[in-house]
Amino acid sequence: MKRTLFILLSNPLSLLGVILVALVVLCAIFANVIAPFPSHAGAVVDFVNFNKPPQWPSIMGTDLVGRDIFSRILFAYRISLVLGVVVLSIAVPVGVVIGLAAGYLGGWIEYCLMRLTDVFLSVPPLVLAMSIMGVLEPTLLNGMLAVTAMWWPWYTRVVYNITRSEREEGYVLAAEVIGAGPAHVMFREILPNCVPAIVTKMTLDLGFVILIVSSLSFLGLGVQPPTPDLGSMVAEGARYLPDSWWLTVFPALAILVAVFGFNLVGDALREILGAEQ
């Protein structure tokens, strides 16, 4: 653990990643403290200051109804991160259990579970989430549901592959010989070997959830106004390019910075933990 941290901080690129992630997380947690106009996260209208280019005190300009874009980005980070954590805390356990069961138990259970996984993996992820969001009401809760539904199969895949190779290993055989039940072997013997791969993937995915959620809202199928979201901010502003460039450029860069940070850290973790994809 200590060693991992040390390596993480000694490489300039992963250090940059750690800094970016810390920055994004701090912005999200303390959004209401940092934001110059915390009330602008909601349905506020200030027609005196609408569509202003970057200037003090709105360092990233204001949107079409006069809200401070910087403040809205901070709150959008908060919602994206909460979404990411919730999605992963449902998708990971589901995916991991299915992967373990399919990989260890084998037989028809394996066949059925993996075909089910294939079905989910056969719809382009965005299209699957879109169609779920489309038939349900586009709310925050349904957004989480839609993204979770497209996310678990990837964990199933990762865990399934590791389980398949680990189940032939000596230590698994040894546990079976002394009479350990399938649950014990799956969760106490095999699962710990999947942890590095899962942790690495989770770090990368926290970034990708932000990416997908912003894509859904970009299409108008995600977080609904007036709740701030980076994707819908870009979508709204895109119509006013290039004159009101600040409407799109800052939210777009905000997505890039956050996801890049998580990717840098995840990438470094993968190298350090030697976790295979």
Partner: protein
């Protein structure tokens, strides 16, 4: 070559099973909508009788598996039903919008392979050096943003600040090209209008690049990782011991074994562009499936949603089958195995 046929057959059968699964999944999702689709379609002024008649015509009063049965029967006749949004057959709508999307995705796919692979090869060959670091940062950056972010950035830079490329659309308004296939690259050539072809090609560069960028990064990363693994193999040292030049070793000895594991995932990425195209089309006002797809989703147009998702999934599966075949072609282990692995 019979082994290749066997791979093809096996993949087609599993694809069909998966496609049926997908249709069930989408169908199930589409039918759990709160509210009667017939009422939504007819609008707020419809009478109860009208709603009932449409419900009966759509079999909405039957149990869901009976509805699915009707759906399958129609599907086997190539009938995806009528879109409640456009009042036209869903197949006609898709036929109108799909070619533009496919054209965009195909060009982006070519860019992804043509740029991503060489970058990965370079990166692996000069591992640890300045070139490698630059390519790694570049590819990590590209995978860190959705297509619409790149679309906005590319548009600002190359259409507004340095106006090299057109801002939006598939072709300038001054050209009128009769739609034969829907693919402008083909239609302009059929019309014998080379300038129109050039104009269309000029229009597709930015949208395709925006769509391809993250794929380029992903392809470069995968190729690099697999090349580095291959470089540790004894046959690379053997090639070096015979004095073959490094460039030749990279291209001829290391690349091909590295491509085998990388290609499947590159194929998946390519196929998922079908979904991501939605993000890019919106920014560049590309007249593809995106606007139609989003519109029908927002209007809860069941037939159109099911049809669109099914068509995209089918295209996705077809791409994957093709990739599996290519892998089989370059991997002699599959070509010559007695039982296909």
């Amino acid at each position: 070559m019979t082994a290749i046929l066997r791979v093809l057959l096996r993949r087609l059968v599993t694809s069909l099973i998966v496609l049926i699964g997908v249709s069930m999944l989408i169908f199930a999702i589409a039918r759990i909508i709160p509210g009667n689709p017939a009422r939504i379609a007819l609008g707020p002024n419809a009478t109860a009788e009208q709603i009932e008649r449409l419900s009966a015509a759509l079999h909405l009063d039957a149990p869901i598996w009976v509805q699915y049965g009707y759906f399958l029967r129609d599907l086997s006749r190539g009938d995806l039903g009528i879109s409640l949004y456009t009042n036209r057959p869903v197949t006609a709508d898709i036929a109108q919008f799909l070619p533009a999307t496919l054209e965009l995705v195909l060009v982006a796919g070519v860019m992804m392979v043509a740029i991503g692979l060489p970058l990965g090869v370079l990166s692996a060959r000069y591992r640890g050096g300045a070139i490698d670091n630059a390519i790694r940062v570049f590819s990590l950056l590209t995978v860190s943003a959705p297509g619409f972010v790149w679309a906005v950035i590319l548009m600002l830079v190359f259409a507004f600040f340095v106006p090299i490329f057109p801002i939006a659309g598939r072709i300038s308004d001054s050209y009128s090209i009769p739609a034969v296939t829907g693919f402008l690259a083909i239609d302009t050539l059929l019309a014998g209008d080379l300038r129109a072809f050039g104009n269309a090609a000029w229009h597709i560069v930015l949208p395709a690049l925006a769509l391809a960028l993250s794929g380029i990064g992903q392809a470069a990363r995968l190729t690099r990782a697999n090349m580095i693994e291959t470089y540790d193999r004894p046959y690379i040292e053997m090639a070096r011991s015979y004095g073959f030049p490094e460039g030749r070793i990279a291209r001829r000895y290391a690349l091909r074994p590295s491509l085998i594991p990388a290609m499947t995932i590159i194929g998946l990425d390519f196929a998922s562009m079908l979904g991501n195209a939605f993000l890019v089309e919106a920014i560049f006002a590309w007249p593809g499936l995106s606007r139609y797809g989003v519109a029908v989703i927002l209007r809860k147009d069941l037939n159109a949603i099911v049809g669109t998702v099914l068509i995209i999934s089918a295209a996705f599966l077809i791409v994957n089958v093709i990739v599996d075949l290519l892998v089989a072609v370059i991997n002699p282990r599959i070509r010559y195995s007695q039982r296909s692995a």
